[in-house]
Symmetry: C2
Subunit: 285 residues, 2 copies
């Protein structure tokens, strides 16, 4: 088995670590625009050596795990170079722009659009971990556009990695993921900003921060190079969710200003059911 | 040693578990308005048996760990009943209203105002855990208003529990804690609300939620009975932080609408330094 991973970061790196564990005989080649990352990935044993475009023609799997703006450019080029039996998947957090970008590509049938809902706030080859995808959800879009035998090959791999598969059209994916992922990142970044800005006037604020604050700002450690193009590609949906979030915060502020603490109590009580919802998420893990 | 804990939840319960571990001969008595909680605390071995007001006169330590609105009523009554050698502390997330409530109490010197920055999103006696305060910060306000020998007794206990002590005036405490704790809770509750509201129209959103979403909404599991009075007592500071937060979110939305993705990149990049700040918090834990 021959695997080429293009962009060896948290997701691509973790994928090939799992593939190597499942298929010890697999040859894992890496391509990365950042030479330091490539060398680091080789040194860490995440990939065996550097790959080239020529390696795509007889590869079994090609994983495109680059920021979503780069994916729009790279994926069509990768499809140009792959062979008949190669299955290509990319793993970005937006699906509609990429599906549109390759809609009319002559080798569209060699591509499967996926979004494994997994990750941490860290990035780069050193962030790659084995077993990252165990129990996680993998959203697959437009599955019917992929050749059946290559679909099957990809699905067998995802299942062997421990992922649950969910099928969705790319529009719905991008709309829903704005709520449960993209908005969380903005909420976290702006919370971090609000406190950092205050700290410049008032010393020692962070000395008072506990695990609750840490949890809410964890995502503010995320990579701007990865997240800026996601927000750009999913702008309309992200703006909508942000409007709803700001509206809810503003209503809460008005309740506070009006001393309507009964309403505040009931607002919080009605959101408490997130406990059961999150327990559902935990069970899936 | 005789200890009375009034309000046997996460904080009060965890405190007496630590005290019992440090002083196995201590008698731990519990008082709770909720009879089920009291019985549960006895069954779990968090307290030995129920205490009464009479037990306060010869108690060594009295811990008042009740919602902050109840503390305003209970603390003066507790001070009325304690003996000369009793040190009373309460552990609420607001310090100015409580310090004002007992400012002229004849036994003010038997009270020490504290806020141990520790906790989880859970509540009740079953949420109590040993070692919760290890490495955590304990903010002490108006320390000079407590009798020296009782100060010393309390500080020895906090230190033995593994806490770092920080002294602060109650105004500064309430202002700063609004940023690193109270605002995080509102941000989390309103994020949960935004997604729950959407889920009523669109099914399966939560099926796509990963660990990032879970981290940002974790605090939305918190108790409304505990948090409503905190927001009430710290209303002015909380409204200020919420205004700054909403303003930052609105500016981010404007950048998105204007396609100013360079500015978005730089906004996120400048907040990334939260990594180092949070590493600082982790080291303290």
């Amino acid at each position: 088995m021959k695997v080429v991973v293009i962009g060896i970061g948290l997701i691509g790196g973790s994928m090939v670590l799992d593939i190597k564990a499942l298929h010890p005989d697999a040859t894992i080649l890496g391509i990365d625009a950042n030479e330091n990352h490539l060398q680091q990935a080789i040194d860490l044993g995440v990939v065996e050596k550097a790959g080239t475009t020529e390696d795509l023609a007889d590869a079994d799997f090609v994983i495109v795990s680059v920021p979503v703006d780069i994916a729009l450019v790279v994926l069509p080029q990768v499809l140009d170079a792959v062979g008949e039996n190669t299955i290509v998947f990319e793993v970005g957090s937006t699906k509609l722009p990429i599906c549109e970008a390759v809609a009319n590509h002559p080798k569209r049938r060699n591509y499967i659009a996926t979004h494994p809902i997994a990750g941490t706030e860290f990035s780069g080859p050193s962030a790659a971990i084995k077993g990252l995808f165990q129990g996680k959800t993998n959203i697959i879009c437009e599955v019917e556009k992929t050749t059946f035998k290559l679909q099957e090959k990809a699905l067998q791999l995802f299942t062997a990695m421990g992922m649950r598969i969910r099928y969705m059209d790319p529009q719905s994916h991008d709309k829903h993921i704005a709520y449960v992922s993209h908005l969380s990142h903005i909420s976290s970044f702006m919370l971090g900003k609000t406190v950092i800005d205050k700290e410049t006037e008032e010393q020692d604020i962070f000395d008072m921060a506990g695990s609750g604050f840490e949890s809410t700002v964890r995502l503010a450690k995320s990579s701007p190079a990865m997240w800026t193009p996601i927000f750009k590609q999913n702008k309309k949906q992200v703006v909508n969710t942000l409007e709803e979030y700001i509206s809810n915060l503003s209503k809460f502020k008005t309740l506070l200003e009006n001393d309507d603490f009964d309403a505040i109590y009931h607002e919080m009580q009605s959101v408490n059911k997130i406990k059961e919802i999150l327990n559902g998420i935990n069970i899936k893990k």
